[in-house]
């Protein structure tokens, strides 16, 4: 197994709609300090700060990495901000791994943050998101993110023959997992009918099939495998990263429902890690919409018989391949820049057996997968994490 970097620290804030007067700078500080404390490293040990934040529209702060370097006590470290829509956080993790692999850095802080919920009205954020696909065609036409995801899911559902009821099951399961996650935005014990009867946004998507806008931050500390503090020698390793792209316009794709970029990203990551999808024990998957989770499981090669596997409970918290134990975007929430970082942090904590106790699988986990994308899977980024001793 390739050991590209160790995840020596992992933390996140609560994801929610903040009304307590705290700012994204507070949340970034909270997540970073907790991750640094876990790593046992000092501020001066951090060679690079990589910030994931989707949009200056949310923060009203161009060049957020510079201001956060100051807040976090990292002046002197190399700084950059990484952006790739919804994939921003995972791409920032990749940038951190690459900084270590290049020899430029021994310890990197990756901080993802966005005030997606509280700083702008929801209608304004919805409008901005409409311009995050192809602004010149889809955006000008007024198609929202939900509209584009709905059309993509319709193409997928028609191809593989899957019903709308699966969407209700996904939303229920992810939010039920979130019940045991104290950081979650939407812990809910939904009845299926409540989901199926929620307001129709863009058929087949109803309000409860959609992830919320959230505020929050997540941080990880990445260390060179030769520089891991002795107390953290068992820290999980990042063993494979993969990223790929697809046409932004659904109509330019061979099949509007297939997440081709995700499939390619997964192949890269698995090849690097020396694993196959069947080796993955647990995964955090990008469920911006309930159907996107199904499209992701298909593209990642984690299920050939989706409806049957879902029905059999294979992806449930006690199933053979738990998906989105955190609750995912649907349950834990979606502060965009923080998502990918939080997914990777979750995977690292799960591999260490240090996740929220009610969600921590009792069996030994060897490999975990964090899957993120931007657009309707226009920009895909996946990361495979493995036990320090895994071969």
């Amino acid at each position: 197994m390739l050991q590209m970097a160790a995840v020596t620290g992992s933390a996140q804030t609560r994801f929610s709609r903040r009304t307590d007067g705290s700012s994204f700078r507070d949340w970034a500080g909270e997540a970073f300090e907790a991750a640094l404390a876990m790593s046992g490293l000092e501020h001066a040990d951090i060679d690079a700060l990589i910030v994931a934040s989707e949009s200056d529209f949310f923060t009203l702060q161009l060049n957020p990495a510079s201001i956060l370097a100051d807040d976090l006590g990292l002046i002197g470290a190399a700084t950059m901000r990484v952006e790739g829509g919804g994939a921003s956080g995972q791409l920032a993790v990749h940038a951190g791994v690459q900084a270590i692999a290049s020899g430029r850095a021994r310890h990197v802080a990756v901080v993802g943050v966005d005030p997606s919920a509280s700083q702008l009205p929801a209608a304004t954020v919805k409008l901005l998101y409409g311009y995050s696909f192809d602004a010149w065609t889809d955006g000008m036409t007024g198609a929202t993110a939900t509209v584009l995801y709905a059309l993509s899911y319709r193409a997928f559902a028609a191809r593989i023959g899957i019903g709308v009821a699966c969407l209700d099951q996904i939303a229920r399961q992810n939010r039920a997992n979130a019940m045991h996650n104290p950081n979650a935005h939407l812990p809910r014990q939904h009845k299926l009918a409540e989901i199926a009867e929620s307001p129709l946004i863009a058929a087949p998507y109803r309000r409860l099939h959609c992830s919320p806008l959230s505020d929050g931050a997540a941080a990880i500390i990445l260390s060179h495998p030769d520089a891991v503090p002795s107390a953290r020698s068992g820290a999980p390793r990042i063993s494979g990263i993969g990223a790929a792209s697809d046409h932004a316009q659904l109509g330019a794709r061979q099949d509007a429902g297939t997440f081709t970029a995700k499939r390619e990203a997964m192949q890269w990551a698995c090849q690097q890690a020396g694993v196959t999808p069947a080796d993955i024990d647990v995964a955090e998957v990008y469920d911006a919409y309930a159907g996107a989770q199904l499209q992701a499981l298909n593209a990642l090669g984690l299920s050939e018989t989706l409806a049957d596997d879902l029905e059999a409970g294979h992806f449930a918290a006690d199933g053979r391949l738990p998906i989105n134990l955190s609750g995912g975007l649907l349950g834990q929430g979606a502060p965009v820049g923080a998502i990918g970082v939080a997914q990777t942090a979750t995977c690292a904590l799960l591999l260490e057996g240090r996740y929220h106790p009610a969600l921590q699988p009792q069996r030994q986990l060897r490999h975990a997968l964090a899957d993120t994308h931007g657009g309707v899977c226009t920009t895909a980024a996946v990361t495979v994490l493995s036990q320090a001793g895994a071969s």
Partner: protein, 126 residues
Amino acid sequence: MISYELTLPYSLAPGWLAPYVEGLQKGRAMGRSCTKCGTVSFPPQRRCQCGNPDAKWVRLSGKASIELRTDGSDGAFGLVQFEGAANRAVTRLEGFSPDQSTGQLIVPPTDVPALVLAPSKPRSTS
């Protein structure tokens, strides 16, 4: 809380998309025809799927068939196939009943160069 309002009066240059944008404002579907393989794209793709970046602008009929559609509080939209184009487009659907599956590009209701489709045949009044 600091209340702060920002207005952003963009002047967006259409660049290579200029014929497309000007066409839309008149309700015309201007596509790109590859100078090597003849493949026509609408919405226009800068580079043909064969890899050739050179193309000439051609006017399509603007007729389209709806392949997939979605309706709800976010509006009515479709993934549609324009006559003569190799790719498909996401368009807004104006005034379609559930059984109507063909439409025509129309002049967008606002100044924004939007892809808007209206039914080919008038809606039944019964």
